[in-house]
Symmetry: C3
């Protein structure tokens, strides 16, 4: 097909691929730090995630600047813009989660939080691979699709862990303030897998449109 | 107008209509089961909703497969994809609600939950009719629009029931854990009408674009 | 560039600009009333916000009617529709917030609520200016972009105020029901700045596409 993502702005405008990849790398690095944060929170880890969040902001501004400055069709622009915003949202939410863990000071971090943090990390690595595949979308469509499907599976599993955690929490914890804190922390963690799944769906739509 | 949804992929590609209709039927059947679940929850009803949710997953995979395999314009693809994802989300949320009712074990299911479950059922029937109308969009545009408007009215009413319920709950219930459980159950129920209204807005946008 | 928002439906179809501006004015007026509501809630203010919400509903129906009745391209339609829905959502959420303040009857409105209400008001004025700029998008692109960037900054600040408020609330308030009420009120307030930021992103995407 003629109107492919690949043929349209590669090799004419290959600069968007490395920028999206950098943004995905920032998300993925934040996800790795998030595991440290859940395991053993300290101010240094918190600061590292904050720095990554700022780096993401810098890259997304550059993408927006280049989108304005580069002639590509409006619809490719929209796809690049959606991906960039989605990737940035992942890092933002990871930082939001780290802040809650740091400042809510729950009595104990539940096992479910650790499990979901690991799922976030796994999903973010798949997301990075999927984004890295975009520059050769036509050749690697089915591989990328598989990454996206796995991202979706992880989201379903994380949702189940969160729901089971909530059920247990309601059944066993009588301190309502503690219930609120823990439920919110684990909910925000689970929300990161939703965000990653959302990026997977955007990528699958790009495949449907352009490959 | 030339670029109509109807003229563009009907009768060339009429296969997407029955698939979207099947997906809407699954949502609508789940909504009917949801009333049973709220009224008199038991494991059998829970299992039936779970089965419907799996059936929805199967249909959406098929839609995605056909979208990849069929030549239609990128923008029709996006509309079909959005509708399919929306319909699937309705069923997912109904299942999520059934799980919460089953496992949170609230002391008593509030009257508001029953009221909203009936609204969900009514809205899902309108949604099914609207989806069934898409295959003859040009002829039935104003009828479909009316279904969508009613879906929106139901959403507003459900929101009001939820807000009034929350006000009463805060005023009368002193058991904070019970407040959390009930508020979440009724909130998730109300969220289903939001999701259905969102589908109505997508359909109205399709009418604006293609009819 | 040829396919500009400006060149495409202005001066041919300038009627959409005043309608979007009216909708933004309604949101902005509601935001001003919201400050009154947080400061010193009374039934009259609540009624005024309700009236504004109904006025917004009237305008959005008219926009939808005109979109159906006017020949413009499907993609301009989508942008107008998205902006109109977003502006309407802002007013709806302001009304939802006023209702909660009125009916939850928290013991004391926290300082953070007042701070965020003022941010909402400031952001809504920027949003109004950005919408007013759309009718001369080509000439005023960089000015509009600056409004949108400020809307984004306000959203970040409001989020920080909300998070700090929650941290303090968890640390100091032992009445869980009160915690729930206050957290929800301040969260809904903060959500209005999210909604406004979302409109800013839509406008920035329109700039990228058409200017």
């Amino acid at each position: 097909m003629d109107n492919s993502f690949f043929s349209k702005f590669t090799p004419k405008e290959p600069k968007f691929f490395p920028m999206l990849e950098s943004l995905a790398e920032v998300s993925s690095k934040s996800a790795t730090q998030l595991i440290n944060c859940v395991e053993n929170n300290n101010p240094e880890i918190h600061q590292r995630i904050r720095d990554l969040e700022h780096e993401g902001d810098r890259i997304i501004e550059q993408i927006y600047y280049e989108l304005n400055d580069t002639f590509i069709t409006p619809f490719d622009r929209e796809d690049i813009n959606n991906l960039a915003n989605g990737l940035d949202d992942v890092t933002d939410q990871i930082y939001g989660c780290a802040k809650r863990i740091t400042f809510y000071k729950p009595k104990q971090i539940p096992q479910a939080a650790m499990q979901i943090a690991e799922m976030v990390n796994e999903a973010s690595e798949l997301m990075l691979k999927a984004i890295q595949g975009l520059s050769s979308l036509k050749k690697r469509a089915s591989e990328i699709e598989q990454y996206c499907n796995k991202m979706h599976e992880i989201e379903s599993k994380a949702d189940e862990v969160f729901q089971n955690f909530t059920i247990e929490l309601f059944a066993n914890c009588t301190d309502a303030i503690e219930v609120l804190k823990l439920k919110e922390i684990v909910n925000v963690l689970e929300g990161i897998t939703d965000e990653i799944d959302h990026i997977g769906k955007t990528i699958k739509m790009i495949i449907v449109k352009y490959s």
